[in-house]
Symmetry: D2
Subunit: 185 residues, 4 copies
Amino acid sequence: MTVNEAGKIAAEECAQALMRIDEKESQELIRLVLDARKVFFVGVGRVLLSLQAVCKRMAHLGINAHYVGEITEPAITSEDLLIVGSGSGESIIPREISKKAKELGAKVVWIGSNKESTIAKLADCCVRIPVGTKLGLQDELKSEQIMTSLFEQTLLLYGDALAKVIAEKKGLDIRQLWQYHANLE
Amino acid sequence: MTVNEAGKIAAEECAQALMRIDEKESQELIRLVLDARKVFFVGVGRVLLSLQAVCKRMAHLGINAHYVGEITEPAITSEDLLIVGSGSGESIIPREISKKAKELGAKVVWIGSNKESTIAKLADCCVRIPVGTKLGLQDELKSEQIMTSLFEQTLLLYGDALAKVIAEKKGLDIRQLWQYHANLE
Amino acid sequence: MTVNEAGKIAAEECAQALMRIDEKESQELIRLVLDARKVFFVGVGRVLLSLQAVCKRMAHLGINAHYVGEITEPAITSEDLLIVGSGSGESIIPREISKKAKELGAKVVWIGSNKESTIAKLADCCVRIPVGTKLGLQDELKSEQIMTSLFEQTLLLYGDALAKVIAEKKGLDIRQLWQYHANLE
Amino acid sequence: MTVNEAGKIAAEECAQALMRIDEKESQELIRLVLDARKVFFVGVGRVLLSLQAVCKRMAHLGINAHYVGEITEPAITSEDLLIVGSGSGESIIPREISKKAKELGAKVVWIGSNKESTIAKLADCCVRIPVGTKLGLQDELKSEQIMTSLFEQTLLLYGDALAKVIAEKKGLDIRQLWQYHANLE
């Protein structure tokens, strides 16, 4: 297989996964983001890296965005939102942090595949991306890629799609956003 | 614009960007990765996040992979490879680290858009992804997305495509890879 | 209060805290480190930062050292050791990760203050630093410093003391260690 | 050597290093922190870990604190302060970032040992901790510890001493600070 072929497969699988996301769920997620005072992200491994990229972009849009484990992470309150990325909905850290966030009165959005999972059940809003668990759920999109790459890729593109729509809703001029971007680099 | 529409745009832009990458450059990069004793990654911001995701996947394939800034980062030697992600090829940290790596005798691969840049000129191998600089180079793919999102997305998908081809070249059974994956999560 | 006075207080409190650590516990910890194939560290917040500094130094001594959450974190096995830093012994992430490590057959060392805690009870070896919990245990060293600063400071100095003794036991020439240090900086 | 002995040496060396810091330099640093709109920290390796711990504590005191490389790092402006930790004053990343910060009109404080260095010369304020460079400057405190451990330890204790004095100057009730502390852990 050439790298061009492997790249084509990746992009096409992402396109299919993104098309399977329910627009109503996305709009509910956006509403919760815009209503929150602060937005926190939690995940592990490559899922966390995709969420951190989304967190960074959200900050460029003027959203008070943080991730769990951040050096200067503030306290979460009942006016805040926690966005959890976990395909299986059972990863230890996201699951325990989700429970803690609920105890503290925050809202929780889960993005993943397994709707029968602990995190899915406690979440206020679920966005299903039907790919990428090791469980191999019956209706999951089959992927030719390694491990759960498709879930992590789709999560990044999905977050960037959310950012695009949020920027539009907030009436931001995209060309002006560089002023909020880190400049010590 | 709906999130589904924004997602579709993102995936299609990635597909186009990936198709514009020269297969010969990709094969040269893969040869350098397979010849290296250790592979280091350097970048900043969301580019670094995409490279970290690729670094993590390379480690799953048995490649001795590290990123610059890692807590347990080892010393680089003349048997090692540095992979630099920088659209403009002029970001301070990647540029200075690339110079240092050359001084220490390591090979350098650059992935970015601006072929006239300092990093591109000192690199042993250049992989051009013609998107995403603030310079707006004439032949760059135009993107409807925010800032340099397309470069960062394409970098992740490209790295995963490289991983897929490397796994094939090494004859790895993809289903066996989970044994190398972190399990404290 | 001058900064010199505040600094003097900090250094003296560290000296006292370090003197209260039981040498037998330290020697047991060192034996477990030297017997392990890989050593993992887990903690949160400033405790994690101190542990990361110790992890980095251990790597300079030729120990295969990692922290939980590291980009290229490998799988833990029954031949490995997990070192947990948690004053209260009840922080969610360290507690859940400790349980998981035990399930996977790894050994666990706990460093903290509250010996009645969940993590202390499941650990194979406990090193007590009697400071720094919010619980204010009766025999804890009183600190004039902010929050749990004293625990985090003592943890760093303690880890560096361990490193010094381990280097001696391994017969390492300290002046030669720079060759293992990151050089892309 | 026992671990207790090695710990005693570490704490005593820290005490001596802290006593050698000029109070006037510390008071000037505090004035710059209190005058700044945002405070940024930059360093590499274990120096960065100590600075991150200080950054986290400063955030608990209500200071708008960030480190260079942070996921949600904002832009620096002429109203902001950059605190640079570098014993030698010549580490590539801190040096290049310091230059960039000066270009952008921000104030720069350097904490390190080599007063003849590039960063020391461009800084608005220098705090000398006379330990820990590989240069072995004539008046540096000799350390029995590994590599530059003493500099990194002293930096952490010094930052915590600064925090203590700043809390006093701001009239903060230390027992109330937990409300600003991350609670998802």
